[in-house]
Symmetry: T
């Protein structure tokens, strides 16, 4: 299979495995990415990773993805809940989006229970820790396969 | 692997493939279940299916699952948004719960954007159509494996 | 004229004429149905009646109406205000719906002033007691005539 | 039968049949009134019609109806949603009121979903286009018959 | 004492003494005005009266009062609660305003408990029936006396 | 003393003593009922018990109580918070109602802090575990004594 | 004329004439009371005055007024906005109540725009400074005269 | 049995039997206390009574109860709904609290439907008039028995 | 260029230059219109002006504009915030609408921050005083040019 | 340095060191005051302390401070959140106010997150336990120094 | 004329002409800027342009404008709705601000209908596409002329 | 004493002493930092300062502080009110946080009255201008001393 998937991680996700392990689990972001790379190799999908604590850099990266990615997997972290600018960028580039959360955001603070990513996403996965990303990867493959059919 | 998964579908999901196909897709519930059965056989997991338009029957079924299932995958349909009784039943039986939605409920009416299942679920998947169930199945297997470790 | 009308009455409407007569009037549900049957005979319309206190049974009955009814007249009683599942069922079967209320729900408790039936109905009638049903019957005939034109 | 019905139409209803036909239908207000006049003649009911874009004129007309009308059928148009003054006038003259709407206001903008007429009306009809008025006429006749009994 | 007082009454107040006497009392608006005229003669104050059911006419009358009145006593009736335009007119002409209500609006419907007149009035009186106007008259005299000091 | 008391328990209360014991206590529903039966025998009151996870069955049971019970003790469980239909049924049958809760619902989730039973109940008891039912029984006896005086 | 009027002033009103004179005016509470005493002597009405910064003392004083006063004039100061206990006391003693405010509370902070006194008062006066009390005195006389007629 | 119960009654409850008898019943507070004293004597429980219209005195009394009472029965009257200070005092002394209301507060004004006592109470009883206190007494005995076990 | 522009001004705008000059500026409405007429002459556009304090007259004028105007520039004044009837009239006539405000309504009272004109306008200009109208004129010309292209 | 500081503590703060030590710390109010006295002596500032559970006494004390204190440090305890009367008293005496809280009120119940003291305070300190008072003392000294400059 | 105008465009506006053309039009940001440069040259105004997807860079740019620009034209894009930091920067530099939007934000999602720029702007223009900028330019010239008068 | 304190200042605080001096005072950020450095030297505490207008840079800086700082003093400026990402970063690094504000944010716009920093801070200080930082410094020292005990 042919296809390019861009995985974007938002603020503080670079600390995965180092902070609040009871919520976010033991694995580092690099651990998760490594596992995804293995899966990607098997499926022969090209895979790119990006993490930033800067909203503007995430917007730039999304814009650059136009014509360069067939699917975006995004865990926008805290930006999920207030960045209309990332919402707009994702809408503007017109690439299928899959929303991912490590934790079950609906068990947490009220301000984490609204997502500005959901309304422009194909769908989403929350609460399964690192597994959430793998599930997103499978969904991304399926979406790409549908596109190329 | 050993394990028993119960898949519960709520009201109107028996009409899948027959109604509003632009929202819910072409596949019937039976189609989806058949695919899940195939996956279950491969993984050697026992799988049970239940669909009802009656809130009370769903509660009964959840209660009966105590000691009979290791994971519940539930698409409570419209009950997702107002059945505190199903919420209570799921909480009472103390079996890991995975929430599933075919459509992206966050793109729809305001009254569909609150879920009473999420706060008692491990995690959830929404918006990937029939694929949502398969992803839930994989997550269920992972959860069961973790339990039996 | 040809046509099949299904009249659905929700919870507690079986007590009509027996309870709170100052709000709901003296006539029993059977009285109302008898009058509708007479009107139906004159217009040569087939008419079916269903009452239940069980949300699930009402959903089942609505689903069974697919291809069996040309118009649904529904007084969902208390379910009007919270049953998203009945809302979904009516939307799924894609039959014209007419909403009926005996009392003027806008003179009553705040929780009775939101209807989940209205957004999927062609139109509605409230406040005219038993007459509300007759008016709904006339509207149903008109709708059926328009369909068959 | 004896009786006098006053039909009041509020702002912009004089444009019926000329504007937004997908919402309000093809018939002009004059068409509707003509049909009502025919029905009135059959029933030997006196019928008066009034339309205005001016809130004050509608209030004046309602006040003049004291002792001159046995029932008021009113489609207050946009005034339905904010004119407490028309609400007060209708309440003051103490004549039975029937509320009418051509469109299903519950499918439209949020600001159209509150009615200040409903709380002082006997009942109401919405969503059946021109037929709404005919149904209101029938209800008015019934109300007048009950009064004169 | 020298001074000119303008008394403005809003919609449906022309029906005083004829409608809902338990709320508004037995006296007609003419009765009230006659009593005020007597008081005015004693105090040698010029007094003008205006009533209208038309928001626009009330605004015109307020505008005409510039330079012609030293104090406005206003019972804006239902307009009290939604007419920003009357609020603006009163603010624009810059004449002291006294708000009057026959009934205790704080015992009535929720929509009657917000006043757009209060924020631009010197003060107000509510709930004393016809006496409310006399009290307002006394306050108006005091205000005029203060101005002319 | 003469009198018939109907005790109704709603969804998931059949699991009492088996689930979330820190909230609901150690006793099973059968334990509680047995204790009530003993008390009833002493007071020579007839006592009937009903539990269901089905809203419709509870409504049916309430309707059947007309003329068959002098007082209803109800713990509607989760239905307390959203079943307008049970509210309506209790209101329709016109039998004194006593509301019971095992736990202190005001210490729990926001959605559990509104009761649709309270407005139609004589009174209520919450938070005393199994004792709540005994207290309700005493109140029921008092109410029946007052009726028969 | 015969009659006993009790004037109650709430917290911080003992500072009148000493604080925020732009809002509350130059007169001290004693100045106001002296003027009222003069008016009372002319009308031959007995008059009692009470001021306290203590909610409990105000409640005690209201309770003591049973059978001892024919009318209560109250400026509850800040307690106006949150003391349900004073609301209850006034309701319990069943003496006509007149609400007074020196300033126009509707021009001030949001938390000053709800009154718990209004719903149990005959009527009220706000915004006329010391004059507000005199107007209240006149209204009180009128109310007493009506009672004794 | 050994144990000390403190019964606290809030503002205006000293008027019981004298005011609004349709809501609060015929019995005076002294009548109720006398009945409780009889019950206490039978159970050999020490019982103390306190009533005040002063929030501060109630707080002082609660603080004094530390080490002097095993259970507090409180009807805080109007303070129930806004006294965070009483809430804090009850929480600080760490004695089991039982909340009592004579009337069914859920049938009354909106501002009476929130209780600041409930969240720190073991449980509560509302709506049974004087009987509410007796029920609370029984619950208190049970709580003390559990403590001393 | 060919084209007909209708400029509508709502209530109290006839007082421009005479009231609250710090908010609305020194120019009278006639001054503004004169300047617009000059601009119109240059561009050879026909221009009509209408001002009224009467909501009904504004609605009438808008209706008359059908087929007589190619663009409407409207400053509905206070009606902006509550006249659903003007909203409906503008929508009904289907002529491009430009919304104008002299002041920056977003710096003013909360009730001025919602506009019922905006949702049916092409666009709007606020805060530039008399210049707002000139800018609207330029936009109107552009819109007309686009239409005639 | 010259200056007089008044320290006011509200309800239940007399229990400091005796209740909920995890929230409020181990020190008694007397401990805190002793430490402040030492600091005051060093800075040669006069210091007065007042604690009460009675809102009225706190108001009286604040009023007495006029001309007797150069700065008020207040921890109004629960009154912080609802006593408009204390807010008014502080505003009336026109002495600089410093707000203090032992705990971080923003981590606690929703009803503790609004302060009526903040809007009339110079500034505030929360969350540092007994240290909060010392910090307030330093700020008070600074404020007094600025005044006397 | 002399004067320096700074034009700031926020996130995703660099994609103009490339994305969602039905909402934002065909022109690129460079096209718009070119047209503005031509206008500026005619008016002999200095003009600077800045676009960034980074909130921080926009703040830096605004701060740098102090003393370097006489007017800021800003289309803050998505930041309009949540960046209090940009609001603060614009307020801090004290340069006249003109708000611009290509689309009519009042026809779009709820979260786009609040602007944090409006309260600190002189005025604004929305809905006229590229023309909005030109209108803003004219307003800017007028503002600069007024300053230099 | 040993210890490392990191002082973080958010957007626009680099303009201190240059903008809105009536709100923020005359001192520049450098002035404040200099004073803090002096205090730090006395206490022999290591002190680092960071200011940025970029949310992302602040997050990066907070993350870098892990293991490098014993206490963070933060004035997040406008980010206080909406940056969930900074909230998350502070929570992730698990270093004690002290919140500082120069102005009394509770006297300002509604959108400035919610802090996302408070819920994760030890405590906070607001309203004392530059002094706020010094007080925070003292609190920080106390916190560090407690840690090292």
């Amino acid at each position: 299979m042919d296809g390019r998937i861009l995985v974007i991680n938002g603020p503080n996700l670079n600390l995965l495995g180092m902070r609040e392990k009871d919520i976010y689990g033991e694995k580092s972001l690099e651990d998760i990415n490594r596992e995804l790379r293995v899966m990607a190799m098997e499926k022969q999908v090209e895979m790119n990773f990006f993490q930033s604590n800067h909203e503007g850099e995430i917007i730039d990266r999304i814009q650059d993805a136009r014509g360069q990615a067939d699917c975006i997997i995004i865990n926008a972290g805290a930006f999920t809940h207030y960045s209309i600018a990332i919402h707009d960028a994702l809408k503007a580039v017109d690439i299928p989006v899959i929303e991912v959360h490590l934790s079950n955001i609906f068990k947490r603070e009220a301000f984490r229970q609204q997502s500005l990513i959901s309304p422009i996403a194909v769908g989403g996965i929350f609460g399964f820790g690192a597994l959430s990303y793998k599930m997103a990867f499978l969904a991304a493959c399926e979406i790409i396969r549908d596109q190329t059919d």
